[in-house]
Symmetry: C2
Subunit: 281 residues, 2 copies
């Protein structure tokens, strides 16, 4: 379905393929030179998550670790990482848009082999999706590409309305002309181009129903706001979209949640990010 993809996706796909390929070619070269293949991967641990006071964000620190092929304790993880990379690369080549669940299923199988005593052994590539998700995160930091950059898609709850024009895919969309409905944000918000904006701030509303009410009552028109809802816990794309509105357009962001611990948590995730995903900030 290549010809049906947007030109934006065609370009993003080519770039991701190239970057992924270059990174893993390094391993291949090591093997061909008779050297031990190893990956040097940034640590995604709490101890390597730092709070950047300047940007007021949780970011990944500079610590790294080695993943070696010729180490019994690391061979499985090494295999998983290369397996995941090859699945993603194939999906890119085949013009696909997998989800993380697709990646899990595609990679999950049992490897049968003979051990050094000649006995047949079995080993699963991975068991639960938690495992393959962690491997994907390793690849994101190792290659320096977010999953969205590799056109791995996910469900997306975020919506937006406001006096603003954006380019998404091959279309220009006027977010002030959505009627009673709204624009559902794409799962790859870094591919959006902001064309022009006429607003003084961003209001992020936790509850979708409250978003509907404010939208319908014309709040964003009256107060010159970009109105966004995360529809509960914000997903990656909504957070990224809001961050871009703030960093690139300089719009202050206000967040309307319930005044309970969940609300504060949602606020904190928008404001400083999360530890698990510190690398995406």
């Amino acid at each position: 379905m290549s010809s049906l993809s947007s030109s934006i996706d065609v370009k993003a796909r080519r770039e991701a393929m190239e970057k992924l390929r270059q990174k893993f070619l390094e391993l291949l070269k090591k093997v061909l030179n008779g050297e031990e293949p190893k990956m040097i991967i940034p640590k995604r641990t709490l101890s390597n998550t730092i709070y950047d006071k300047e940007r007021k964000l949780l970011l990944l620190g500079s610590e790294t670790f080695e993943r070696n092929f010729l180490d019994m304790r690391e061979a499985r993880k090494f295999m998983q990482t290369v397996l995941m990379a090859s699945i993603i690369y194939e999906a890119l080549v085949n013009n696909e848009y997998p989800t993380i669940r697709d990646l899990y299923y595609r990679g999950k199988h049992t490897i049968r082999y003979r051990d050094h005593r000649g006995r047949v052994e079995e080993e699963n590539t991975w068991d639960e999706q938690r495992e393959s998700d962690a491997v994907l995160r390793d690849i994101e930091v190792y290659v320096g590409l977010l999953r969205e950059d590799m056109l791995i898609l996910s469900k997306e709850k975020g919506k937006v309305v406001g006096d603003m024009r954006i380019r998404s895919g091959d279309d220009v969309i006027d977010l002030s002309k959505m009627g009673h409905g709204a624009y559902a944000i794409e799962p790859t918000p870094d591919l959006i181009e902001f064309i022009d904006v006429n607003a003084e701030f961003v209001l992020v509303v936790e509850k979708d129903a409250v978003f509907q009410q404010l939208h319908r009552a014309g709040f964003w028109k009256k107060y010159k706001a970009i109105l966004v809802t995360s529809a509960g816990q914000p997903d990656r794309a909504t957070r990224r979209f809001v961050r871009r509105l703030n960093e690139e357009l300089g719009l202050p962001v206000y967040i309307l949640t319930d005044a309970d611990p969940y609300g504060w948590y949602i606020y904190s995730v928008f404001k400083i990010g999360s530890i698990t995903l510190s690398y995406e900030s």
Copy 2:
């Protein structure tokens, strides 16, 4: 914020106000004439839910029941019904767009009164939202207005893309120009006007992530489809929107879910409706 509402909403609001007012004026007239006020309400019970073989839908039957003010067992329900109607009417007059949760909170209070022995008693208008929700459903069937007609809003998960133009509020929206994103359906889909459509069928996808994949791969362009996602269990608006595509535009509807009991249930809800909400079909 009246001037900021769409002309469609202004009209819908006026119509709902008039209909609600007329219906409850009947009660007032009875009181002024010294008669006992009573409401004759269609039954929303399983026994009064019929399967219409022609339209292949669950519909409300013709049975009714009386709700009498001068009956100890019904006085509380009577009070609740009138209370709910007055809250909705006030919201309509004040250009508001309440949610069902708002209606619950606005109506919830304690009534203090002296009983026939002179003792002070207390009675809550309603305790849980389940109670006020049931009263709202009574009003919907009693007055013959869906909550959406009375501009009571709710969260809304449904999204759509496809080669189709609609009018929503005061805007014309081209659903084929949403880029990588989608159009988030409004919670009041009966107010949408279908302008023109160039498609051969509707594909409803349960999972939002699968919707994203099909959209991104250009499925709806290649196969001339209107692509909809319910993002899980379909809400009222998504069901209604899909039904209108089928009944008014004659488009066949295909539904893509997991092949498990949840998937079958989602399919059945789209196909024949639900017992609780048989009156909205």
